[in-house]
Symmetry: C2
Subunit: 347 residues, 2 copies
Amino acid sequence: MASRAKATILDIAREAGVSKSTVSLVLQGSGLIRPETAVKVRKAIEDVGYVYNRGAANLRKAHSNVIGMVINDLTNPFFAELAVGMERVFQSAGIVPFIANTAENPVRQEEVLKSLMEQGVAGLIVSPARGTAPGAFRRLETAGVPVVFAMRRLPESRIPVIAPDNHRGAYLATAHLIGKGHRRLAFFGGSSDLVVYHERLGGFREACEVLGITARDTLVFEGETSRKGGIACLDTALAMAEPPTAALCFNDAVAFGVLLALRKRGLEPGTDFAVVGFDDVVEAEHYMPALTSVAVDSAGLGERAAHVMLKMIQSRTTRAEDHIGAVNLVVRESCGPDRRAGLGDAA
Amino acid sequence: MASRAKATILDIAREAGVSKSTVSLVLQGSGLIRPETAVKVRKAIEDVGYVYNRGAANLRKAHSNVIGMVINDLTNPFFAELAVGMERVFQSAGIVPFIANTAENPVRQEEVLKSLMEQGVAGLIVSPARGTAPGAFRRLETAGVPVVFAMRRLPESRIPVIAPDNHRGAYLATAHLIGKGHRRLAFFGGSSDLVVYHERLGGFREACEVLGITARDTLVFEGETSRKGGIACLDTALAMAEPPTAALCFNDAVAFGVLLALRKRGLEPGTDFAVVGFDDVVEAEHYMPALTSVAVDSAGLGERAAHVMLKMIQSRTTRAEDHIGAVNLVVRESCGPDRRAGLGDAA
DNA sequence: CCTATCAGATGGAACGTTCCAATAAGTCAA
DNA sequence: TTGACTTATTGGAACGTTCCATCTGATAGG
């Protein structure tokens, strides 16, 4: 049905015997029109199979109610969670956010940002791809589009950030390992082009220092932030003359790799080698053994980011405060029992 | 920098000392303008910090190069993979697709579709939410927007579908279990409001019938399509007087649940109870024991769907052929060795 | 010198909305 | 009856593009 050409408000106006202005008012739910007229118009809208043309409207209105979420890796459940948290908030605000994936590729990210801008987004929540150039968001800034970073930040930028307390999380995890009696510790995975990496590594280092682990007993192995990276890290670590007995992993994926590699060598995770992850993705709980990990509540951070964005749009500002989310260590089985001679504490 | 109001092609025209038409032509890369003029214009574009207004352009052009992907559950890596496959194709076609998540909620889906239509999408790839009403896509159809379904289909619709060969996959998996010597089989998880469920269950039933398993030895347990659902299915199955010895699971998540529940009961997956999954998500390979599963190549299906969509848009049609993707059984450890007395075949 | 041809550039009318200012039709007080 | 005010409705100009039709000079052929 419906003639080939799309119906416009003029078609509705003709059908309902009113002016286009009246139709426009009805569409916006204005209280100025007589109820009976509104009913008549709404009927006509149904009859002609009208679909609202937001592009045309934005041409006049200049603010667009479209919000973009730019995610660096959608296949990582951790970031998918983040996206879902944001969506929840936007949904209850009656707006539909568009998600775009950059697959950790700065060039792709550039394209995505350009496209989103052309679409006239009202705001952008971004988890920047690794290796993002320092000036990548300048365009957005000069255009006055509100942007907030989620999970990750860029080295020098003034864009507000919503992220977990990486430093503290790493500190807690490291303290836990030391508390278990480990004296030679490793940090596995990640690479220094990520700010997050420095934050987590910083927490690790600080804990070691404060709790009496010497510098030569704190080992750092960079590597891919994936299972594969974890496997590689463990292999090179165990090849050392004096290998570590425990590792804090950059994220859970790395930790899973380590667990796997341990099993493959016939070592028992937890008793032979302790490992703790970071992010606490859902699988952590279900792994064998269950992974001890730093929970960051990514969905919660997503919600927070969405709220900040909404507020920024509303107050038409491009600045906002950073928000550092609380973290907590979820102790499961991958660090085994205490390592000291005794039989652990009585609790 | 950049004055408060956004720059338009008129600003560029003024800056470059040409007409707006010329600027427009340059933007479209027309060969009609003299190279030096083009250079001059491009410089002006940079200078004024111009961002293209696609909304305004679409107003005239009426076809929008925006493609939407509507996904029922982004946190499921299986669907995330699908999305990534599609993205890959669209990227090389130079277009940026927008992803929207429906979280398996038909109401949300309705909102998402509406929003996407208002945005003037050129086409839509949809993995419909469970419980989608039969007429949910009529609007799209009458508007002449090309739509293709991915992974899932709706009962009566004429919309083209890109999906794996669920029936055959289930058949293969079931035959494998029977080949291992199992004589009392279960189908775990899923519910009948999904067409996929019927397809997979159908393959299971056919294999049982053809390969000589009596109807009373083929058990079906509906349940959530999650780890939790798998755990529940196993519990009720093992509570039976004469429990099954093997199960085909609706998907990998269910299978993981079953594996977990077996371990919790002190049973060894594979030897005590065989389980095969469906979808072959990345985790399947890394589980303990590694999960035997039906691989469906979701990224490949995503690519296929994207290609079909591109073709539909290009030939401005709303119809296309269905595409049923090949599947294959990836045998790992979760079904253990053969069950018959002998020591298996000599291969 | 005139006319055809051609490359390059341009004005103006759309496209489908919103919103301001204006209008029409009541209602009510003076 | 008049004017002030209210309520409901409306025309028209804008928003930033595209694209058709037109215009301007050059160049070339006769």
